[in-house]
Homo-oligomer: 364 residues x 2
């Protein structure tokens, strides 16, 4: 398989985009990525999305987006892997370009969630759980993660406030990111006083409901001299599935990453992800955070643009936002959020309660 | 890109499977394909499905199926391209194996539609139309195809009964297929007396609502000597898109194999497909059918196992059923439906009103 690089990135602010449809969001992010790359050619489009059928009344989304973006009659496919759909779309694109079947692939992650009331969105998100054995009992994703968090607190004698550094870090970084939804810094006090969603998870443990779109243009590394921006190599691309825990992945490069964009849908997910990826020993991720090591100046900066918590979590789009942000870091274009000297970054997109994880390691 | 072959196929009868969930259907088809191939190894799973979120209450479907089929922790992705999802899943798998990233890929197309009343299914199917410019006006897929059929009848001075041979042929072939839902032969009289769905489309112009699952195991052609069954090469694999909305087409009626499995969701779709693929000149597909050339003994046999009309059309699964049937034909295992001497077959899976088409040419 030939080497593949990301040569253009685009994103729109994560927000409640009342005035725009899902197609508008996707088209705008695509235009930004193509502009960034400075390469006109696109051979195939992969759309990462989870809930367009349920929340936007639209399946056949890849064809819709290809049409709206003026890309007909190119090949276009929608990839769904719950909240990991954005990462999964890059994975599929990586196979398409790596195979030699296509040279230039566009990846767009897009989600429009705010046209529905929160109850409806919560029910739609529960489609990522097991319909017969979990959702049928009325359990939500906040509840599933509350079970994980409660168990973690029991096993490792942790208090709720020990999770605060993750949310505080995400908001601090989001404050530096013009595309983030929640740009206000928060304190540990704010975190502790925020209302419960599903005990022990509160509002500030949880990523918000929102709209967004982000896009990548990828191509063969051998051709990247044509690109306007510095190319970023896809050093690793993998998907693994599980019933519950994030167990399977042991990538030797994990230990060398300069920054990590985890799937911080809830603070407990950041904790479990850091431990599953070997960035913290079991039961030690809270300590890592308490010591300030996850901040922009720490040795393992996470959520450098605010993460799902601070930037916002338009579910099927989040994986692509993570990748866009990782690219900006590796290009040295992260502005005030820049991690100094970053040359290797990892982004991980998770679907379900750790049921599926798509991991990319990018390198300059 | 290396050469790829289909080395195992599996299918379950298309029916109203009241006693089984979507996971049961997928698992059974997968087991049959693995048994057929006689190769234990599976590296990646691609699930073709359109409506699991809307009709089965389940997204994250690929992970669910990987889990239920005992395949964890393999890579698993769901591919959605409306009714073309099954073909699109093989397309994605073809890229994965062709690239060298994976050796053995399972493709399963699955759909569970009968747990809902027809109104609900009709609304769900309309998600493949343009939500903002078509579905918002209440148009259904039968209505969209009725517009196409009426226009075709006008342009080519055709009568409704001229479409009968497509449905008669599909039912005649379905009668020979133990996996088909509608195994009763029909006459031109039956066709003409069947009730209207959306004038000029009647019940016997239309594929039915049903449940089903079909699966393929593919691998590098260089390794197929290990397979139990004769391998069938994927000679071509491609996806193309057109406008999602029918109204935007410049010409809505414009769309050397041994057999062809078209996407005959409505008789008018068979007609337009034969003409779009160059198998009939424009306006001449009805004549081709009237002359008996589409039957098993004709020079361009179509719907050899009953097609979507006769076998049934579990939407996201149909594309894989078509491929399973094409493989059986090329292996000489089609029983009474065998097309004599078939060495090249084509299957085409269509989403929306011809908005996306995934085409595979298979060869022995």
């Amino acid at each position: 398989m030939r080497d593949v690089s990301i040569i253009g990135v685009g994103q729109i602010p994560v927000a409640e985009h009342w005035d725009r449809s899902i197609r508008d969001l996707a088209v705008e992010a695509i235009a930004a990525a193509r502009q960034d790359a400075g390469i006109d050619r696109v051979d195939v489009l992969f759309v990462g999305n989870m809930l367009s059928g349920e929340l936007a009344g639209q399946e056949n989304l890849a064809t819709l987006v290809a049409d709206a973006a003026g890309l007909l009659p190119i090949e276009a496919l929608k990839i769904e892997a719950a909240c990991a759909s954005g990462g999964a779309a890059l994975r599929a694109a990586h196979l398409a370009v790596g195979s030699g079947a296509h040279d230039y692939a566009l990846v767009v992650g897009v989600e429009k969630m705010t046209d529905y009331l929160t109850d409806g969105v919560t029910a739609a998100l529960a489609l990522a759980a097991d319909a017969d054995y979990e959702a049928a009992h009325g359990i939500t994703f906040a509840a599933l993660n509350a079970l994980l968090m409660r168990r973690y607190m029991y096993e490792h004698q942790a208090r709720h406030e020990d999770f605060a550094p993750f949310s505080v870090n995400a908001h601090a970084n989001a404050a530096l990111n013009p595309h983030a939804m929640y740009r206000q810094p928060i304190t540990v006090d704010d975190f502790e006083r925020s209302p419960w969603v599903a005990d022990p998870i509160n509002i500030l443990d949880s990523a918000g409901i929102c709209d967004g779109a982000a896009a990548l243009l990828i191509g063969p590394t051998s051709e990247t001299r044509r690109a306007r921006r510095p190319p970023v190599r896809i050093a690793a691309s993998a998907t693994a599935t599980d019933t519950l825990g994030l167990a399977e992945r042991k990538d030797p490069l994990v230990w060398d990453v300069d920054l990590f964009e985890p799937h911080d849908a809830f603070t407990i997910v950041s904790v479990l992800t850091l431990e599953a990826c070997g960035l913290a020993d079991r039961g030690r991720a809270l300590k890592l955070a308490a010591e300030g090591r996850i901040g922009l100046e720490g040795d393992i900066p996470i959520c450098t643009f605010g993460g799902l918590k601070g930037r916002g979590h338009p579910v099927g789009a989040s994986g692509v936002y993570q990748l866009v942000e990782t690219v900006l870091q590796l290009r040295g274009e992260a502005g005030p959020a820049q991690v100094r000297g970053a040359t290797i970054g990892m982004a991980q997109s998770v679907g379900g309660s750790g049921s599926v994880a798509v991991t990319h390691i990018l390198q300059v």
